[in-house]
Each structure stands twice: as C-alpha cells, then as structure tokens.
C-alpha cells in the first residue's frame, strides 16, 4: 500500500489527526525554544556533523577499536550481517541461559529486525518496558514514532486497553493513574527477568563503552536486575571519543523533546561482577548505504525524531502511513536504501520544504536526499513512482502548447470547479488542503500587457 492511501486512512478521523498535527508541532516548538537558549547551538550541530563525517569515513578502524576495547572490558562482542543473524545471535544467548522471558527497553533496531515475533515464535515472552512501547505492544501495533511510540493514540484508547490487560478502572483516563498502573505491572516483570535487552545510543571506540539514554529509567531497571544484558547496536552508532558524548548529549534530548538532557544517561563499560554483557553489532544494509555517495550521510542520524515533529506531511499523515520501521523524513531516505520497490512512494511524501534539514542536529541534508531518491526511483521505473496526478502533469510539461492551454484552463477551472473535484480522491495532494486563489492572468499574459 502506498503512502498516500495510508495517509488517507489516517485522515479519516479528522479530530484525531488534527490533534496529532498540533501535538507534534508543540514538541517542535519546545525544541526551538530550548535550542535558542544555547548560543553555540549552530556550532554544536556543525561539530556533531563533522564528528559523524569522521565516523563514516573511518568506520572500519573505529569498529575494530571498539571491539578490542569492549573485549578488554569483559564484554562479549557479536557481529551480524543481517536481521536474521542478529535474531539468531540473541536467541542463542537466551538458549544458553535457558531464558524464557525477557524485558526489553526501547530499541528501534530490534523493531527493524522484527526480533519480537522471532523470539515469540520460539516460545519466549518479550515485554517491551518503555511505557509507549508497552501500550502499542498490548495493541499488537508497531511504534508510530521513534521517540513517541504511542503518539497516534488518545488516552481513551489507552484506558481501554489497560482496563483489558491490567484491570484498571473502566473509563479512568487519567495519565498519572494509567502510568502508575503500568509501573506496578512492569516492576513485576523487571524483578523476574534474567535477561534484559536494550538498544544503544552511542558506542565509544576509545573506551569500548556504550551509552543508553532514557527518561523513564526502564533500560536501567531491566539490565541491573538481570544477569545478562544484551545491547543491540547499529554499526553507525559508533563515536570516536568519550568527550564527543558531550556534543551529542547536548543535542539529542533538546532536539528530541525539547528538554536539556534525558534524565538517565547510562555508560556501560564492563559487567557487574558475576554478570554478562553482550553487544550485537548489526549491518543490515548499512554498509550498502555507506557505499551510496549521495545517501551515505543518512547514516549520521542519532534518532532524535526532530524531522518527524517538524514535517508537515508526517504530522498530517501519521507514522503508520510510511509502513517502515523509521517513519518521517529520515525514514523516507533510509528505507528506500533497504528496499527501493517496497518504499518507492516514501521520497514523494514530502513538500521538500527543507524544515527537516533545518532541525537535524547532525545536519543531514534530508530534503536534498529525498529529491535525489525521487530521481533514482523515477529513472529506475518511470511508472512506479507517479500517481495519477503526477502522470497528468508530466504529459502537460512535455508539450509547450498543452502547458499554455492547461494554465489558462486551470485558472478558470479552479474558480469554477466545485471542491468535490479538486478534493477528488484521485487527487491525493488535494486532501486536507485549500488551494490558493488563482490569479486572473498568467505571468506571460501580464508581461505581454506590461512590458516596457
């Protein structure tokens, strides 16, 4: 299913989609305010971007350093070329410890690998412990946003599923009440789990340590009570030095939610006595993306989600309309690198306004890459990318006469046509927007009359 048709689904509930739009804009606004409170904000972005350029250009040696140092610290390091191998590695560690139930903190990477269904098929109970992720897990849905997994849901939806799963009072929609019910429920799971899985925000080559950031404290509750900690990390999450964390931690939470830092920023260097830490380093298409000159710097992403919060398309079409693990602008340049056919409509789900690039803390030229992907996709398969209205436009642009006639026709018809035609389902871009008042004459006509 294409992005436009799934976006249309989302827009059916107008009140909810309007709320979604406004709420994400509110988060974007918080990001603006807090970024402006730091005079060196732009310097930090440039620094972070430069550091990530260095990382992408020296990924081999940094990964090898990271591996050597992590091993020296008593951490087990595993390498996985793809999702299948990643899941096998995780499963084999669980088997070795005869573990039938795990707790997991937010990890977009394990979503990317579809680890949950893989483990569940093998009889292992997986409990997502981030509140938003637990909510969507109850509903058997994927997260719709990488930082705000349940942003597509209203508290009434959450109250209903909690009543069913956690026996909370029927109709009690108070966020505090619901959150504390989840706290009690998840505490039981934390206290029982023998193995905990987390993602990784940053891996430090110099020290072999890795950093996990949360506000809820769920990653730490899981790993410090369990005997075994498995950390799943994309190979691009490496940074050179410990002090580089200063740059990235200053940018991450400010860009993500407009707060100065996440409340817990844990640095794991070696296991607690008697315990184990495993790191799984995952490629899964990342080296392929690295080889694409135009698209490689999409790998600089630190997963803050700022580009989603600012994107006029994401805000109005919801995370699910993208059908990819990472939605929004950054997802629309990462996903075609994984499967260009499946995600062919995503680079078109953008107005190319450039707001995503403006807010990106590591200065990825997201909108330019969206444009580049459009070129690639159209070249590879002219029919694949174009919807009905695009096809009509391409016919008009190839004939100068048709272009002239269609222009005057359009100016007249925009006034005359009933909204039902402009907002016809065939015209996916007409939905939920108003067209400007058409000018009386074209620039060409005006120039003819007014030229000196």
């Amino acid at each position: 299913m294409s992005h436009p048709s799934k976006a249309a689904e989302f827009l059916k509930d107008q009140a909810k989609s309007h709320w979604h739009d406004e709420t994400l804009w509110f988060v974007r606004d918080k990001r603006d305010k807090i970024s402006k409170s730091i005079p060196e904000w732009e310097n930090l972005r440039t620094l972070a971007s430069g550091l990530k350029d260095y990382v992408l250009n020296n990924l081999d040696s940094l990964l090898l350093d990271f591996e050597a140092n992590a091993k020296k610290n008593g951490i087990h390091v595993h390498w996985a070329v793809d999702a299948e191998e990643h899941n096998q590695i995780v499963h084999s560690i669980l088997e070795k410890h005869d573990c039938k139930a795990i707790v997991k903190s937010k990890s977009i990477l394990t979503e990317e690998c579809h680890l949950n269904p893989y483990l569940e098929k093998r009889g292992i109970e997986v409990v997502d412990t981030d509140l938003g992720e637990r909510i969507v897990q109850f509903l058997q849905q994927p997260p719709s946003h990488i930082v705000l997994p349940a942003i597509h849901l209203k508290k009434a939806d959450i109250s209903k599923i909690f009543h069913e799963k956690l026996q909370t009072e029927k109709g009690n929609e108070d966020p505090t009440y619901l959150t504390h019910a989840a706290r009690l429920h998840l505490r039981e799971k934390f206290l029982k789990a023998k193995v905990a899985i987390t993602g990784v925000n940053f891996g430090v080559a110099e020290t072999g340590e890795f950093v996990v950031c949360t506000n809820e404290g769920n990653a730490d509750m899981g790993v410090h009570l369990a005997d075994v900690h498995i950390a799943c990390m994309g190979i691009e999450k490496i940074i050179p030095r410990r002090k580089d964390l200063g740059v990235f931690l200053r940018l991450l939470a400010r860009s993500a939610t407009g707060q100065p830092i996440t409340n817990y920023n844990s640095h794991f260097r070696s296991p607690e006595p008697g315990k184990e830490i495993h790191i799984v380093l995952l490629d899964n298409g990342r080296t392929r993306q690295l080889a694409r000159d135009k698209f490689k710097n999409s790998l600089k992403c630190i997963r803050c989600g700022a580009c989603m919060n600012t994107c006029p398309i994401y805000r109005r079409s919801g995370g699910y309309s993208y059908g990819s693990t990472v939605p929004g602008p950054i997802g629309s340049i990462l996903s075609p690198g994984i499967d260009v056919k499946k995600y062919s409509t995503l680079p078109f789900a953008s107005t190319l306004c450039g707001s995503c690039s403006d807010v990106c803390p590591v200065k990825i030229n997201i909108h330019e890459q969206l444009y580049e992907w459009r070129q690639e996709i159209t070249k590879a398969n002219p029919d694949l990318a174009k919807g009905m209205s695009m096809k009509m436009a391409s016919g008009i642009f190839t004939s100068p006469l048709a272009y002239k006639i269609s222009g005057s026709l359009m100016r007249k018809s925009l006034k005359a046509l009933p909204k039902s035609i402009i907002y016809n389902p065939l015209n996916v871009w007409g939905k939920e927007r108003d067209l400007p008042n058409p000018p009386k004459e074209s620039f060409k006509e005006w120039y003819k009359k007014n030229r000196p």
Partner: protein
C-alpha cells in the same frame, strides 16, 4: 568469511581519504553556576534542598526503609546493603554522593564507586543525591573533561526523577525509576 570480516571489508571497499577528527572548542558557561544548576534541576522536575534543611526534610518525609552510601550526610537507622539488588524492591529512599554536575542541564555524574549496586538509584522509590557546590561545572564538555580518563565500569548522568509523557504528551513523574529526585548541595 566471518560476518565481522564481511562487514569490515564492505566498509573498507568504499573508504574515502583520511579526514581529521574535529576538536571540541571551549564554550562559554553560565556565570552563576549554582543558580543555573538549581533552575535546571527544577526544570527536570527535581528539587534542591540545602544541607542545613536536609534533616528536617527527611524527618518530614518519614521514610523507614533508607539506604545510604553517602559520606557527606549523616542518617541513622539505615538498611544494610544487600548483595542481591532484588532485595531492594521495597526500598523507599536511597542517598548517594554525586561526583560532578553540569549546570546547563542538571546532570549529575555517579559511578560504581558511589553506587556499589548499580540498581540502587533506579529501584528506589525516592532518590537523594548530594553534590558539593564546588563540583558544579558549566556544561557537559567540562563534565567529560573531569571524568574522561576515569575507568568507570558503570557510570550514569542522572538529571531528574523517572518521567514519561507517553500518554497524550501529559507529563507523569515516576514511570519505572525513582518517583522523586532531591539534590542536596553540600
């Protein structure tokens, strides 16, 4: 070929010319570090009390299950540190000494030396962290300068209580970890 070698080779095949690693310059820091730090902690939904007010604060709270690793505050009737963190499931208050703090965001650094058991600041219902005023630094760069060379098996920057906004973006304090953070300036 192993997966490791396969990944490394794929990277090396497209490796461009060498590039230098950017250096991190010094940035200006707030003038009044203590005032900025207090504002940051409060912004993160924590609270700050002075050393003088601490004992009356503690008395008022009336916690009975208290664990302290602090060398800076004197508290009586403490629990004994268990070897298994699961025994801390009912812990009401933990008191820990922070090493360094960053004024710009309220982040306080603690490592294994202070924690002894890594689970303590997360499993406890409420958390107190002490910090000497002279250990409050300007920003995260200064904090990493201080801790950069230390070999902490585990270390954490804590900046506030456990919180979430996953239900309709409404802020709720006390998701999984400590329901409150009280910073005592010593």
């Amino acid at each position: 070929m192993s997966s490791r070698d396969q990944i490394i080779q794929a990277i090396q095949k497209v490796k461009p010319d060498n590039q230098t690693l950017p250096e991190i310059p010094e940035f200006r820091v707030p003038e009044d570090l203590l005032a900025t730090f207090i504002l940051s902690i409060e912004g993160n939904k924590g609270q700050v009390v002075s050393k003088e007010d601490f004992s009356s604060w503690l008395k008022e709270k009336g916690y009975s299950k208290i664990l302290s690793n602090s060398d800076r505050l004197e508290v009586s009737n403490l629990q004994i540190l268990p070897s298994d963190p699961h025994e801390l499931a009912e812990l009401e208050l933990a008191i820990l000494d922070g090493q360094w703090a960053s004024a710009e965001n309220g982040a306080i650094w603690l490592d294994d030396t202070q924690l002894r058991l890594r689970a303590i600041p997360f499993i406890t219902e409420h958390l107190v962290i002490t910090i000497p005023e002279s250990n409050i630094l300007g920003n995260m760069h200064q904090a990493y300068d201080k801790i950069g060379a230390a070999h902490s098996s585990f270390g954490v920057f804590i900046a506030g209580p456990s919180k979430t906004a996953d239900i309709e973006q409404s802020l709720v304090i006390g998701a999984h970890g400590a329901k409150s953070l009280t910073v005592v300036i010593v």
